[in-house]
């Protein structure tokens, strides 16, 4: 269980509010903590060599908040109770340079802050129910290939497509 007030999770609809890195730093600060680490993910102008003009994020919001809490609890189990965590993800259409995600960790010492922040953003990227649709300069749009949330235990009624060199991010049943 996370200690009360040690975790802030949010999904923000970009039409209503922008992500706020300063609020993340404030949240993970504590008189006991000497180290804060923050990751800010922004929409970038290139992906796999194509020019991107924006990204739309689709999020299963109720589940995402539950998953964020679960992932944070796992990070706290690894790094101990002297830890505050913040995770917020944008939902909706963003343009290049807009902030898609903010993750921050505060701890007594810097090594734990870096590692906890990294562990949490990796978990969010690989396990939270969030989907990215890239909009290209030529007017085309495409949902990104991503990480399958399937366990390995089921028998697939349909064979998954094989990963190819052109889809390095595809983790089939990963």
């Amino acid at each position: 269980m996370l200690i009360e007030n040690s975790l802030h999770c949010a999904v923000l609809n970009v039409s209503e509010a922008a992500l706020d890195p300063a609020a993340a730093l404030d949240f993970v600060s504590d008189g006991r903590f000497g180290g804060l680490n923050m990751f800010v993910g922004k929409v970038r102008s290139q992906n796999h060599g194509r020019e991107v003009v924006g990204i739309s994020y689709d999020i299963y919001q109720a589940l995402a908040l539950n998953v964020f809490r679960q992932l944070a609890a796992e990070v706290q189990t690894e790094f101990g109770p002297q830890l505050k965590l913040y995770v917020a993800h944008a939902c909706g259409r963003l343009k290049v340079g807009d902030i898609a995600v903010v993750v921050a960790a505060g701890t007594p010492h810097r090594d734990e802050a870096f590692r906890a922040c990294r562990a949490l953003i990796e978990a969010v990227k690989h396990r939270a129910p969030i989907w990215k649709q890239e909009h290209f300069i030529d007017g085309d749009s495409a949902w990104s290939e991503g990480c399958s949330l399937c366990g390995h235990e089921h028998d697939d009624p349909a064979k998954p497509p094989a990963p190819t060199a052109l889809s390095p991010n595809r983790h089939v049943h990963g």
């Binding site: 589940l63 539950n66 953003i121 949330l149 697939d156 349909a158 064979k159 497509p161 089939v172």
Partner: protein, 85 residues
């Protein structure tokens, strides 16, 4: 049973609504997965079958594995591979 499947990511392209309603014969996630594939094939969307194979199912609170039962209220979601951040 009647299942209402919330659609996300690449499944948003299936049709204009945010959910797909399906009559499922059986009560497991495996039954739902198989019959969703059959439905897609029957409705000219066989190109999405591969995506079903790498997708998970979930309620608001948890992922559901193939051996799990479909929730009694028939409300769940299909989650294609995720790409947040």
């Amino acid at each position: 049973m009647t299942v209402t499947l919330a659609l996300f990511g690449a499944f948003r392209d299936l049709h204009s609504a945010p959910t797909l309603t399906l009559e499922v014969d059986g009560d497991s996630i495996a039954d739902l997965r198989a019959q969703l594939c059959a439905h897609l094939e029957a409705t000219g969307k066989a190109d999405k079958r591969g995506l079903v194979g790498v997708s998970a199912f979930a309620s608001d609170t948890a992922l559901l594995r193939d051996h799990d039962r479909i929730p009694a209220d028939g409300q769940l979601a299909i989650l294609p591979p995720v790409s947040g951040g």
